[in-house]
Amino acid sequence: MATQFDADVLVVGSGVLGSLTAHALATAGKAVILLEAGPRVPRWQLVERFRNVADKSDSNRPYPDQAWAPKSSGGSHSDGYLQNVGPLSYRPGMLKLVGGTTWNWRSACWRLLPNDLRLQTLYGVGRDWPIDYEALEPWYGRAERALGVCGNAADDQSGHGGGAYPPRSEEYPLPMLPWSFYTRTIATHLRAAGFAFCDEPSARASQPYAQRPACSGMNNCSPICPIGAQYSGDVHATLAERAGAELRENAVAFRLERAGAKIAAVHYKSPDGRETRLSARAFVIAAHGIETPKLLLMSDVANASDQVGRNLMDHTGIGLTLLAREPLWPGQGPIQQGAMLQWRDGEFRRRHAANKHALGNAVANRPVAARLLAQGMIGPELDRRIRHDAARYVQVTTAFEMLPEPGNRVTLSSHKDALGLPKPQIYYDVDDYVRAGAVVARQDQRRFVEILQAEVLDADTGWRNGDHIMGSTIMGADPRNSVVDGDCRTHDHENLFLATTGVIPAGGVVDPTLTGAALALRLADLIGRSV
């Protein structure tokens, strides 16, 4: 390491993308410092906190709620952190601790389709990626190996009922998990009716994998897998440290210091307000899709295009809750296993959003019991109905493709956090493309009701966050209308890279984490060869 730098590479954020980057670079022999705004908390403590937290309605609540590093919700320091000023309240999952937000996720690890990366060319809407699927494909494979993804490579994940798709150069590292009776039964019914139901690839170890135990179906993937069978970002944070990276906890990055066209240093604050400056040859900001643009805006860097913070997208969706006629028993196995993809890709995308219907498989006792008690049910009938309804409870979440809209954006609020830093201000809404997609999706949902001969408990959930933050530091070939290039390097600063799902310019309908991981490994390789 050159003596004039504190590190070869400084990575901000120890979530899955930052930790993957730090691990890859440390393994390549680079001197890496990894900053994390929150503390390190062992899994057993988080599991204990989950069990002991009283109100479990917010899955963020078991996680640290600290004044200097607020999460997106679930605590007195955090609930007022995200300042929403738009028509919809956007409050995606965001945790600040070593390992980041993938402590609390469902671990769906889909690849995008080749067509997803050519949205504008093929369908005349949204934006194209500046790279194609072939450029990304080998990195998808590496990301799947890193995260330990299980899945069924024979599925046509385009939803067209054909052969294996999208193209892949290697098998999933782990075989798919078995489906529960619930998933099998519903899949059988829906497939018979013409729906394209397939397995959802996930970062759950279906067999022991890379020191992780096999999934035991404790049905608690979110808020937290009790045994670490499901991947979380702390895995690679730990591996990065073992490879020589230095991890600094409770270090809140608040300024990127410029030196000409390059970034010279990161400044961070400790919880007591003390400031530290760290220099490096290259910088990777992997601080979540909301905090990354906030840091760029606070630093006034990488924003010659005026696109930092704009084009905020998610897979905002709608929900449907049913009581099926027959007992199906959700709750056995992981909390989500399969999805319906018939509206994932096609010419219709010229007119309306694609969608993905995902089938929840969580133990239903809590919402069932709460509903029955609210109805005043008591006595033996209450117990009988809890069993009856919990056996028949079906939850479908429909996620929609969104297009980049500059008005949906993250800016700096005039309100400050405990360290005196601006809180993120968010303006968020869905457009007519999504609303048109919802019309089609509701037709599907009505068919689900018929097929399962179900009673509808809730078909009007309103718009729901998908926790899939995209677009806020958008990727593109043209520096005039995008923040990073196809390598996730900022157009404005050759040594500043962004490892965040915020770079995704077109995200189809699938969870973006695997794509973010592939991009992170790809940029780490690039940095490793050039620094």
């Binding site: 002991n52 009283a54 009790p226 008591i378 006595g379 809890i386």
Partner: protein, 177 residues
């Protein structure tokens, strides 16, 4: 079974409470029950009556007396009048000579908004395992929440192991529901 423990109260005891107390001015547990009450759980003078009331409402004779103490403390913290209303509910049930919660459900007492709300507040604490909302919420129990009792032969209490890796893939027939 999640809600079972070695606590010595039985359903018969609870029924005896109702029978013995009928016609008296208070929902008072018999001396044997008071003697068996764990003193560490709730040292208030009417602890036994509270336990008996909660077991009556839940229909679970082995409802942990410590959870009763937790529930009364939590409900009392957000509503200072709760204990008095619970005592009134117990007295009303005793006076009416109701043998079980189903009889209570079918009686005019359950039509009384105050009694109904009091009963449902207690049942919510034991079934859902908490009282209140958000940061102010107080835990009564998690794995001992009664909402899990009627499905414990089929589904896990989330975060607890059930059958080992892949167990769910071997289940070919739905349990009765």
């Amino acid at each position: 079974m999640a809600h079972c423990n070695s606590d010595p109260y039985t359903r018969r005891d609870v029924l005896r409470v109702g029978a013995c107390a009928a016609g008296t001015l208070a929902f008072v547990a018999p001396a044997r029950l008071i003697a068996l009450a764990p003193p560490a759980a709730d040292a208030t003078p009417n602890a036994a009556a509270r336990i008996a009331l909660c077991r009556f409402l839940c229909g679970f004779p082995k409802l942990d007396s410590r959870l009763v103490a937790h529930a009364f403390a939590a409900l009392g913290a957000v509503d200072r009048g709760f204990s008095a209303r619970a005592e009134a509910l117990g007295l009303a049930i005793t006076t009416a000579g109701l043998p079980d919660v189903q009889a209570f459900r079918d009686s005019p007492l359950y039509g009384d908004p105050t009694h109904r709300a009091t009963a449902l507040a207690l049942l919510g604490a034991f079934y859902l395992g908490f009282v209140g909302n958000g940061d102010a919420a107080q835990l009564i129990s998690y794995e001992a929440s009664l909402m899990f009792a009627s499905t414990q032969d089929v589904t896990p209490i989330p975060s607890y192991a059930r059958g080992g890796p892949g167990y769910w893939g071997l289940i070919d027939v739905a349990a009765p529901g």
